[in-house]
Symmetry: D3
Subunit: 224 residues, 6 copies
Amino acid sequence: MSLERGISRHAEGSCLVRFGATEVLCMASLEDRVPNWLRGQGRGWVTAEYGMLPRATHERMRREASSGKQGGRTLEIQRLIGRGLRAVVDLEALGERQITVDCDVLSADGGTRTAAITGAWVALRDCLSWMERRSMIGPNVMKDHVAAVSCGIHDGTAVLDLDYAEDSQAGTDANFVITGSGALCEVQATAEGATFSEEELLELLKLARHGVRKLVDLQKMAIG
Amino acid sequence: MSLERGISRHAEGSCLVRFGATEVLCMASLEDRVPNWLRGQGRGWVTAEYGMLPRATHERMRREASSGKQGGRTLEIQRLIGRGLRAVVDLEALGERQITVDCDVLSADGGTRTAAITGAWVALRDCLSWMERRSMIGPNVMKDHVAAVSCGIHDGTAVLDLDYAEDSQAGTDANFVITGSGALCEVQATAEGATFSEEELLELLKLARHGVRKLVDLQKMAIG
Amino acid sequence: MSLERGISRHAEGSCLVRFGATEVLCMASLEDRVPNWLRGQGRGWVTAEYGMLPRATHERMRREASSGKQGGRTLEIQRLIGRGLRAVVDLEALGERQITVDCDVLSADGGTRTAAITGAWVALRDCLSWMERRSMIGPNVMKDHVAAVSCGIHDGTAVLDLDYAEDSQAGTDANFVITGSGALCEVQATAEGATFSEEELLELLKLARHGVRKLVDLQKMAIG
Amino acid sequence: MSLERGISRHAEGSCLVRFGATEVLCMASLEDRVPNWLRGQGRGWVTAEYGMLPRATHERMRREASSGKQGGRTLEIQRLIGRGLRAVVDLEALGERQITVDCDVLSADGGTRTAAITGAWVALRDCLSWMERRSMIGPNVMKDHVAAVSCGIHDGTAVLDLDYAEDSQAGTDANFVITGSGALCEVQATAEGATFSEEELLELLKLARHGVRKLVDLQKMAIG
Amino acid sequence: MSLERGISRHAEGSCLVRFGATEVLCMASLEDRVPNWLRGQGRGWVTAEYGMLPRATHERMRREASSGKQGGRTLEIQRLIGRGLRAVVDLEALGERQITVDCDVLSADGGTRTAAITGAWVALRDCLSWMERRSMIGPNVMKDHVAAVSCGIHDGTAVLDLDYAEDSQAGTDANFVITGSGALCEVQATAEGATFSEEELLELLKLARHGVRKLVDLQKMAIG
Amino acid sequence: MSLERGISRHAEGSCLVRFGATEVLCMASLEDRVPNWLRGQGRGWVTAEYGMLPRATHERMRREASSGKQGGRTLEIQRLIGRGLRAVVDLEALGERQITVDCDVLSADGGTRTAAITGAWVALRDCLSWMERRSMIGPNVMKDHVAAVSCGIHDGTAVLDLDYAEDSQAGTDANFVITGSGALCEVQATAEGATFSEEELLELLKLARHGVRKLVDLQKMAIG
């Protein structure tokens, strides 16, 4: 597990995340505009886009640019990342600007959304530091860490960081987005063709907290 | 709150759901084919599609058919409904057939996904009864009830069935899909620009269980 | 045959039309803008959009939002409705505003365009009344009633209000849009793989006039 | 007014129509397949596609291939042409084959749909002759001539062959598709922001019959 | 080989090119705007769009407007034409205006891009003359002639103006865009499943210069 | 300048190319099918797809998957890469299979197409070795090396490997695809708003040969 910063020549902040064989490239881009519906309110916006290279996966998938639209899974993940980041950014203090964090999966072996949000935070943080150094914003626009883990129930027990093979067999699949101080941003637990109990949900959450703590430590070391 | 069955002349199962000013029309369509990736395995499939009439909302929205693509929210909701229904259907016993449940929002006043999945279950159940009467399937293909509620945290307290105005101000918004026997199918709790605690999550879940029990009672009365 | 007004919580005018098993929901939305080509001329615009729920028909059709474009039939019908409505509205007196009437078919059993335009008039009229009550416009912006009928030649004789089964076998299929005072807005008579004579056209028109008179009476009762 | 045959090196039948400054190139293409819904029934199909070069009109229009979809007007016209041609072709005798007639407007100065259908008949007829010479079909697959005229009501009087300037001011605009023996295939009379009377409709039809007779004479001379 | 000018009633400049059985209609349209990225710089822009009628070719191709996007070959050719034209136009002297030259292939028998650029120059030149006559620009905005030839290596020897049959068998296919004074604008030599030598490239270029000289003579005669 | 092989866990062949700040990830995917038009002929196919991460460039570009189509430049480059690779592969000996080489630009600083084709050759070669080791093909399916260079004329002199800043100012921009034995696959020399002479073309070619020799040496070392 590694987070490598500053790997993009152009982006204001960037991070290459490696979790086992999963690799995600996160790049934060600052733009001097906000979405139309936010204009004139003096507040900023943080958003994310997600993509996968066609052969990031075991079988080559069709390129979304060539099929002409982003799939439902892509849209779901990029909304998740965006919300997680906005939970820890002071959008008022950002001013009327937009930061887009692109998360592109170079290699997928389970846990791509976990890796993406963990690295997206680092890229976003470095983008904000870049702005701070230029006196565009004050300190503390980034209010906290945020990271995510995927976990699931495998053969009846909660398992953290499912690898790809386990992932596809798991009846229950969960994503937790949690801040550095332990507050919850997002809880998604989904059963495909199965169900789960409240106890199992809490056990997954406990595992997730443990995982997020390790990821936040990793972020701290990375920005050291 | 009402569930009106058999409102479609054509669909094998149908239900008009009214939750306050929210109205969703659910229609289940049986087709003698399955998605390509399921072919030849002797198993069936249940899926859902979701849409909103342009003026179901306070301000008229652009028609998705005219803008040329379904938005991220639409895709997210229809995946949620499909997974919830599949959790309570015996897909092996269904045989190599597909049932698509269309959920179209005629009027929206908060809670459209809750209403949609509650009614979709009724439409699907009536479609299965229709098949049973024709000896296409045996009994018990439908294994349990399933319903959903939206709730959220408003001014620091958990609130069930937020109406539209509260919904948009709530920092935390949650969806729970729960079976008749209390098993969880889906837990989605999301904070926009905010966070929530584990206690709040459990309080929301408690509220949701209460709400789902009432919805399942409603379903029982409707099919009674 | 019934016209139920005020069925939408949000729309400025609305009407649910039921003609036998055909059901169309019409909602008029007022917007404070006009198409670009009309800007700055002080005149308003009335337009219509048409859609069908996927299982409004006997066989489920693909959802237009998911296939990514509106079919030729959809575009043809919504242009017809828009022209019919504009024929009876004083666009100068409307001022620089646009009213869009959405006509969505909940259930189709023949005659959906007839039902749509009949109900669209009621929805539009109620939208104009809503504006009048707020002193946004004066009276008489709505200059006349307008309604439409479909008819056709079945086994050599002109038949009004073909039900779906007859419709598909009819060699000649006609649509007439006629005002309350009997003026013609639109005449469309089409033969698929067949032809028709002038006498047949006139017989169809006679039938249509009779049908429109009944529909206009229905409108008058509905708004009475 | 002229019809020039055989102007395409590749198409089985072709015709360049010139009506004043309006020029339409019609090319009929034979294909050894039918649409899916017709397969295995031993019957053929005739269809049409319509397009306009971007600068066929006074102001350059956006190229439909570049905007990514065909407009409503384009779809409406190509359906009209297809139905008109099918009215005079014996689809059983054609066998399981499809003929597509492409009508592309090189220059538009009013009456493009009239010109298109008149020339499309000639292109289609030459395609059938080509097939007959190769003994693919017998004689009489083409059962009759078919032509179309546009006319309208200008300053209160019915006028044939409106030129472009008059066309845009006319309150009522009509299209008639009529066979060589005088049977009607299609009657479309449309008022934009106006209405018309039955007498006016009949006067337009009379004019149209006169115009179609001249066009059919032109077709006869062209193929003579 | 012929270049016929002034064949469009509407376009500011136009030319119908006939090279054997290849026919391309070129129309130049003046617009009083420039692309966004050029705004406010006082310079103009010249661009081109390219299309083919569906049955311009031996087998009917699908209409790009109906398939919803322009193919890669179309985009490649229209960029080539645009660059070629811009090489000989003084964009500063044109002022903040855009000229779009539409090149539409009516019949294809090899060499369509050659024909297109040769005719596009004539259409553009006539558009500039039209502007000069109205004192919108001074003289000499058009700095030189420009024309293009396709050639290739067939059975080991360089061949100019390959007809369609040879073209498809040729291992090496080249396009040269050259000005009237012999300067090169574009050299594209491409081998499909083969390679070529520097000597062959130079031989092709020699042939191309010869061909372009003849085309420029043709342009001179046409505008003479 | 470096070529790193085997960087993908999934792809049959892969290579990460670094040319200064330009980074391109090339992955070759073997599929057991060929395009429809090639079916049943016993021959294989090699093709390429090209993409850029949104922030690979100085300014963030819109994601092609989200804008819904691939731009003209993207299509042009991927066709160039595909042709270059096919020039050095024995498609007969490949058998009825397709290899797609995805070239995704992680960071762009000029010369992305040069980098892409150089690395694509390595990825393709490793994919063929993978097949050879499994006895799917014999040796010598890869007939030669192939590489590409971009060069241009800057302030009147030919310059190899223009960095991004120079590139955008260069009047003439050229791409050469050349095999290991010095045969030419593709020559593209383009002037934007300028022209070039035959001498300049030959000087560019000389530079390109020199550059390709170095790239081929790099390939040899990488696979050595």
